[in-house]
């Protein structure tokens, strides 16, 4: 009658009361919640409030409510041009990462799991390095006396160094290089979850390999493309170090204007530009998700 003795042993175990359970757990949450309140929520709220004040030459702000900062941020050609440039470069980066990242992700999803793991680690390693290091690599490559120009001149392709650094193109290359791993990883993770029998079902019912891809693989990997695109786009929108080091003073993204406003002690303007940047990023992501669509395919039973 061994099963009976097992049952009697099991019953009290399920009634054992662990130390951390139910409402007692809330106390463990308190320190991190307080920390977030003090260092994330309050600073953000204060920042939003400050965006509605005027600037002050003596303090941080004048304490008088105004919408002037927003009127300028959204009305002034200078700021609007920067917002547009930021959006354009971010969209271009996202599109380039999708185009470059999808084939690589597709390749990674087709190889064996052991080789895939090694190649994914190779993508994760750069993400753990400081952004400045990765930007510096491009400066070394693209600079006036950089490696690309050295090679071009020594091979006789040109006798004058070509100006590649401090252009919009350099910023774009830097952003793509730094953000591409996010896209590849996101798409790969979705591709490997697609049931291979779906592709077989498509093939056996008459779909050529190209149509299997277009009708099954591509639509089912949309979730990975959306999450990859949102990640890349969001980070690109708030770029300032990459654009500063690779684009120089001519490529003024919203991030650079926020930096400049802060550096000239115009806190309210910096705050208003930040709010505009966050809201336009959020709105663009919403549009992006609408555009690429969400995977609902009906409610689960």
């Amino acid at each position: 009658m061994s099963h009976i003795s097992l049952e009697t042993a099991a019953a009290p175990v399920s009634r054992a009361r662990t130390w951390i359970r139910g409402s007692r757990a809330e106390f463990l949450l308190a320190p991190s919640m307080l920390y977030y309140l003090a260092l994330l929520v309050l600073p953000s709220l204060a920042f939003c409030v400050v965006s509605f004040y005027g600037k002050s030459d003596t303090g941080f702000f004048d304490g008088v409510f105004t919408t002037r900062n927003y009127v300028r941020a959204l009305g002034d050609k200078f700021y609007l041009a920067s917002l547009w440039l930021t959006l354009r470069i971010s969209i271009e980066t996202t599109a380039a990462c999708l185009l470059l990242g999808y084939p690589a992700a597709y390749f990674l999803s087709k190889i064996g799991p052991a080789a895939r793991k090694k190649l994914i680690v190779l993508l994760l390693f750069p993400l753990l390095l400081s952004t400045v290091i990765r930007v510096y690599g491009w400066i070394a490559l693209l600079g006036r006396r950089g490696i690309v120009n050295q090679l071009l001149i020594s091979s006789g392709a040109t006798d004058q160094p070509i100006a590649m650094l401090y252009t919009e193109g350099a910023v774009l290359v830097g952003l793509i290089s730094i953000l591409l791993p996010y896209m590849i990883i996101n798409i790969t993770n979705t591709l490997i979850t697609i049931d291979p029998s779906l592709k077989e079902a498509a093939a056996i019912h008459g779909a050529s390999p190209l149509r299997v891809f277009l009708k099954v693989t591509l639509p089912l990997s949309r979730a990975g493309m959306v999450s990859g695109a949102v990640t890349v786009f969001t980070i690109a929108m708030s770029t300032y170090i990459i654009s500063f080091l690779l684009g120089g003073p001519r490529v003024k993204l919203m991030g650079n204007l926020i930096f400049d406003a802060t550096a000239s002690f115009n806190w309210p303007m910096g705050a208003a530009l930040s709010v505009v940047l966050v809201l336009s990023t959020t709105a663009s992501c919403a549009v992006l998700m609408q555009f690429l669509g969400k995977n609902s395919y009906g409610a689960a039973r």
Partner: protein, 356 residues
Amino acid sequence: MAIVEVSNISKQYNKSWAVDRTSLTIADGSFFSLLGPSGSGKTTLLRLIAGFLRPDTGEIRIGGQVVNDVPPHKRNIGMVFQQYALFPHRTVLDNVAFGLEMRGSGRAERERLAREALEMVRMSGREAAFPRELSGGQQQRIAIARSIAARPAVWLLDEPLSALDRKLRVEMQSELRSLQQLLGITTIYVTHDQEEALAMSDGIAIFRDGRIAQQGTPLELYERPVDAFVADFLGSANLLDGTATRAPQGWCVDIEGMRFPLARDANVSDREQVRLAIRPERLDLLRWDGHTAGAGLPASVESLVYLGSDLRVQLRTRGGSRLIARAPSRSDLASLEVGHEILAVWRPEEAVVVAH
């Protein structure tokens, strides 16, 4: 519709032969089952016929044409997958119309044929639903509709009923069979359930270790298994070892000191060690006092189990062999009790000599 011929096909996986020099001919319009335990090669053979795998040796012909180098999408096959493999991002109608869309039918045409297929599986009215909104049984029907909507030449079914509960499974068996007869489509059905194979098929091939152990009609396989594996796999069989003897009235076999006549057509030689396979329901049990000599194998009742309308009796012979007999529970055997002595008897033609 087409005849499917497989000749001398082999496929190696990780240095072992998943399918080993197998040949098979499946008649036009017939329902053929590939039966065997898991890992026996039946699924691999199905995937070779589908074109998902390329054979290492041999030829596959569909409708007389060699298809070894024809990719799956050009083989004109319909297939039902084990876990249905419905496209989650397409509605029921778009799932069913998939094959027609790939074959280039116009929208109106493919919707008409898809609705027709849905009607055949009695799923009209759920055209706009997505697969995940349907129950397992409903998804199954959609998968069936998708596989037949484009009227393929060959229909492959890969253990399609294994995920259903028993009641639904039996219901679907007869539906699949009548659908197959309605369409007259050459059908290859992979299953590990012998009852399913026996109930549905015109022909069965039993797989073992990548090779076909025996093929034939359900009746042939059941009544004349070539070896113990086939006998045991197609419904359990009692196996009795004995020695063949030539007696004046014909071939006999000596088992545990008793002599039993063999069927007239038994192919044995004198003093040969033989193994007999006898179906549990073909074994008759006679009440016995345990002493008087009788024409039967003496045994005692070890245990009795009532399984619905069946009575199963487990016996131990004097020589230590274990036998199982099966009888309707309303038969006179119902009065048996554990410990009773009985004589097990059978008609000579019910005992099949099988290979060791």
